[in-house]
């Protein structure tokens, strides 16, 4: 049992880290918005999904125009990412403007409900558009990097490396932005105390809009990478993934950027480990279907002993 476990462990780790990277970048969107508004933006999973659809639409468009073969792959990927990030960023800003800003002084539960409403609207709008031509909302896109690398017993898709690289770049970029730039400082100030920040001549509305833009752009970019990794998307991918990413954010201490990254990776690896090894380890009593139970048990355990999440206290500043 143990040798078999050790044998498959590298593969489990690679798959887990990939899934974790997706969770982590999506979790950033939750944690940034929560840090600044104390609002759980439940529409964020749908922004991720919209990003996946926008990216896939661009690639399918380029492919049917016949340009895909002529352009360098990396350029196409960067272009797709840039467009998808821009559009989902604007989408996030728009949602904030329409659904959250008018409710900013309402009781906490009210914007939560409007967030759920927005997420239903996005799901069905995307489903409507996706179904328009083919009558089928499950869309299979173009995969740019489909090759597989065989390293001994390990199989890695080239796209996995791209997902990991892009996720790390985005996270490092965000971290730098928040800590080293004027806008980042303004964000941290607003997160700490909106009213005082306003007194210090910070335009709070613009900072919040910027936060939504960045969080949503990250979510959208992850959507594109996700579509590339798994090939097939539908308008409902945002729901489960959003829930898991939110969990990751809570695990790391919601409101804390580094905590969200860490929580994402932990959740991804735990989940992959549980679904691959739970069956063999328990002699088939608990199968892969218990992977979520396993992952959430860990979450409950963490929250029992450290209710503020893993990084909640260690780092004081919140964004």
């Amino acid at each position: 049992m143990i040798p078999q476990l050790l044998h498959s462990l590298p593969q489990v780790l690679v798959d887990g880290v990939t899934l974790g990277a997706v969770y982590a970048t999506v979790a950033l969107g939750y944690t940034m918005v929560y840090g600044i508004l104390e609002l759980i933006n439940f529409a964020h999973g749908e922004i991720f999904m919209s990003g996946a659809f926008i990216g896939t639409a661009i690639l399918i468009g380029l492919n049917s125009a016949g340009w895909l073969g002529h352009l360098p792959k990396l350029l196409v990927l960067l272009l797709t990412l840039a467009v998808a990030m821009g559009l989902t960023g604007l989408l996030g800003m728009g949602i904030e403007r329409v659904a959250y800003r008018p409710l900013r002084n309402a009781p906490r539960l009210i914007p939560l409900i409007s967030a759920i409403g927005v997420s239903f609207v996005l799901q069905d709008v995307v489903r409507f558009i996706a179904e328009w031509r083919t009558g089928n909302y499950i869309v299979t896109g173009v995969t740019l990097y489909g090759a597989e690398l065989n390293l001994g017993s390990l199989t890695v898709k080239t796209n996995t490396l791209i997902v990991l690289g892009a996720a790390v770049l985005m996270m490092a970029g965000l971290d730098l932005f928040v800590r080293r730039t004027r806008w980042g400082t303004a964000m941290r100030a607003v997160a700490q105390d909106k009213d005082t920040a306003a007194l210090m001549s910070i335009n709070v509305n613009r900072v919040i809009a910027l936060t939504f833009f960045m969080g949503s752009a990250l979510g959208g970019a992850t959507g594109v990478l996700f579509a590339q990794q798994y090939g097939t998307i539908d308008p409902y991918i945002g729901f489960i993934l959003g829930l898991k990413a939110f969990t990751a954010a809570v695990l790391g201490g919601i409101g804390n950027i580094r905590g969200a990254m860490f929580g994402g990776f932990v959740l991804g690896i735990l989940e992959m480990f549980a679904s691959a090894e739970l069956g063999p380890l328990t002699g088939g009593v608990l199968g892969a279907e218990y992977k979520d139970v396993f992952a959430f048990l860990i979450l409950i355990a963490v929250l029992l002993f450290k209710p503020e999440g893993l990084f909640g206290q260690a780092v004081k500043e919140k964004v």
């Binding site: 498959s8 199989t155 489960i240 992959m272």
Partner: protein, 404 residues
Amino acid sequence: MKKHRVLSWVAVTSAVMLLSACGAGGGGGNTASSGGGGGGGGNVIKIATQSPLSGGSATLGEAIKLGAQLAVEDKQEEFKKLGFTLQLVPYDDQADPKKGVANAQMIASDQDILGVVGHLNSGVAIPSSEVYEKYAIPMVSPANTATQVTDRGLKTVNRICARDDFQGPAGAQFAVQTLGAKKIFVIQDKTAYGQGLADAFKDAAQKLGAQIVGYEGITVGEKDFNGVLNNAKAANPDLIYFGGLYAEGGLIVKQAREKGLNIPILGGDGLDSSTMVQIAGADIANTYYTSVAADVTKTDSGKQWADRYQQKFGKPVESYSAYGYDSAQVLLKGIENAIQANGGKKPTREQVRDAVRAIQDFQGIVTKVGFDDKGDNKFANVYVYKFDGQKYPGTQVAAMSKQS
């Protein structure tokens, strides 16, 4: 004339009452003779179809209707010789149980309708057949696979396609006996359909001597199945069975191939979709699925029939066209038998109902039909299809019958 109709109506009703009294008394036997006194009146015989002619599954519903229409037109001459005008009355059940039941009431009120071909959806067939049972209108279903359709033990309900609970065992037969699988890894999607199918498969495969090296569940809606597949790879199986639908099935096939698991992957009719091929792309090769619908063009006579259908309606045959045709044929055969047993007079619905159930050996265009005491077809096969390259549907590679 009016008086005569009223009289005959009274006669029919009294016959109905007499018969139901008979039935309650447990007198099966030759009901045709006991109902001999009633019957008369009118020389029009109608059969109805009930299938969705509008909405999302209209293509399949239309296929059932057109199949039945062809059967009626083929038989019109024969019925004319017997002195009857044969007509088809199509109803649109809109794949909606409420509409199906409302239509069933209308069918019941038209005394010339002696039987129904339908439905497409088991969810519609089940409530509608309660109405048919009440008015003794025999139903022959071309497409309802849910076990509950016949398990309620209604006298009017028959089907010519296989039952859902035969798909798993048939898949197991194919996997173990045809593909020679010894170590099988089973994945299911934790839904009633997927788990039921996978469990039935697992039990049957174990009985046939295969070893189940893993049995895992996945969550509908997720896209990453690498965890389960890592587990599968470690168990080193020579076949993967998947109980679930195409959205997850396609991804499992794709991700399994990416992991280098190039073994056969088998599933149920949940994989029977063109989207399955789109999702899995070129990785679809070596993937099989079972289905209750046969490819009618496999035989020469079936091919001729399909050409005739295409010529007449200008549409290609769908999977259930031939089943619509055969259902109507079986029903008409039952009516013919009932007419003969009734001395050439128009039979009652009860007589037709019992004559349809009594059919034991009817060779249709796509399947042989013989009903057991529940109304299931003893000769219903489950067919195995293989995806050959990136096209849908797959090619039929085997037919699994219950006898073997």
